[in-house]
């Protein structure tokens, strides 16, 4: 009975992580704003920054992986692989979140020493959507750390956590 609730909990967790990564992906891809001042119109979209493109790709990979693992049968031998792959996906998520956050911070506050002006004043809706995507990415990351701990436990079954 305990095992069944643990397994359902893990499935719910993975479904939530899949949802969060998918949400981050969609919100970032649909962020686009056109602003015009004087005769110049500039359009801000996520492909302008390499870090945002990497964020989208990383979250796409994580969503596809989570979706596939949802259907992995319980007795399959691939669960040992899932531990290492979960670690790799968590590293992918942290790296994409860190990169997007670093670039978004420069976009919001600028960098006075390099002469880079903040762009959030001109395209506020774009900035808000990027912030939302980053929050969803952070939620996906937290869920993935929990999933990593769970898959480690279910494969290795450390003797102190086992009811013998």
């Amino acid at each position: 009975m305990v095992k069944l609730t643990k397994r359902i909990g893990a499935l719910v967790l993975r479904l939530a992580a899949f949802g969060a990564a998918l949400a981050a992906l969609i919100v970032m891809v649909t962020s686009r704003e056109r602003a015009s001042f004087f005769a110049v119109s500039l359009e801000a979209k996520y492909t302008d920054m390499a870090a945002f493109k990497y964020f989208v790709i990383a979250n796409a990979v994580v969503s596809v992986y989570s979706f596939l693992v949802l259907f992995l049968p319980k007795e399959s031998l691939l669960w040992k692989f899932v531990v290492v792959l979960d670690l790799v996906m968590t590293m992918l998520l942290t790296s994409s979140l860190s990169a997007a956050l670093a670039v978004a911070q420069v976009g919001k506050k600028g960098n006075a020493n390099a002469g880079w002006l903040p762009i959030c004043g001109q395209v506020p809706k774009f900035c808000d959507q990027v912030t939302g995507a980053l929050i969803a990415g952070f939620v996906a990351l937290v869920l993935y750390v929990l999933l990593l701990l769970y898959s480690l436990h279910s494969v290795v079954d450390p003797f102190l956590l086992q009811k013998s």
């Binding site: 040992k80 670690l87 790296s95 420069v106 880079w116 086992q162």
Partner: protein, 197 residues
Amino acid sequence: MPREKVLLAGGGTTKSWKLLLALRILAIIATLAAAIVMGLNKETKTLVVATIGTIPVKATLTAKFQDTPAFVFFVIANVMVSFHNLLMIALQIFSRKLEYKGFRLLSVAILDMLNATLVSAAANGAVFIAELGKNGNKHAKWNKVCDRFSTYCDHGRGALIAAFSGVLLMLLVSAVSIYRLSINSNKFSNAAAVASP
């Protein structure tokens, strides 16, 4: 006794113990090098900023790593990961007999995984900012930094290469730790399942 498969009977060292020690030493060298090179990264240059009439206006500009929060996080995270590795090496060498006691192998594996994600976040955050500094961004009208401060950029590039090798090494360290955890507890749970009816 199945629990002593992590160490040989009598306290000798297995192949995985030696491999883990070697990987950890390499990881310390890589992350510490990255932290030190980025921490000492500073370049001062006098540049012509504007021209009033025929008199050029010069200003002394300094590029240092503290300007960018991503680089500050990079230095701090690399120092933390090298400290973690130092602690783990000390534990491995000085308390070999207590390897399988309690939560030791489990906590080592979990800490290794968390530190691997930390160093990957730090390295990637810094590399994308460095790419912005090297190529600029014409959509946001951010100009390049590397054409004027080339030594700063070269040192940064070296630190990033060291950090990425640190990421790879931490991934390998985590894999070996997980392997050691699994061979230790599987034998025990198998033995317990056989022993108890």
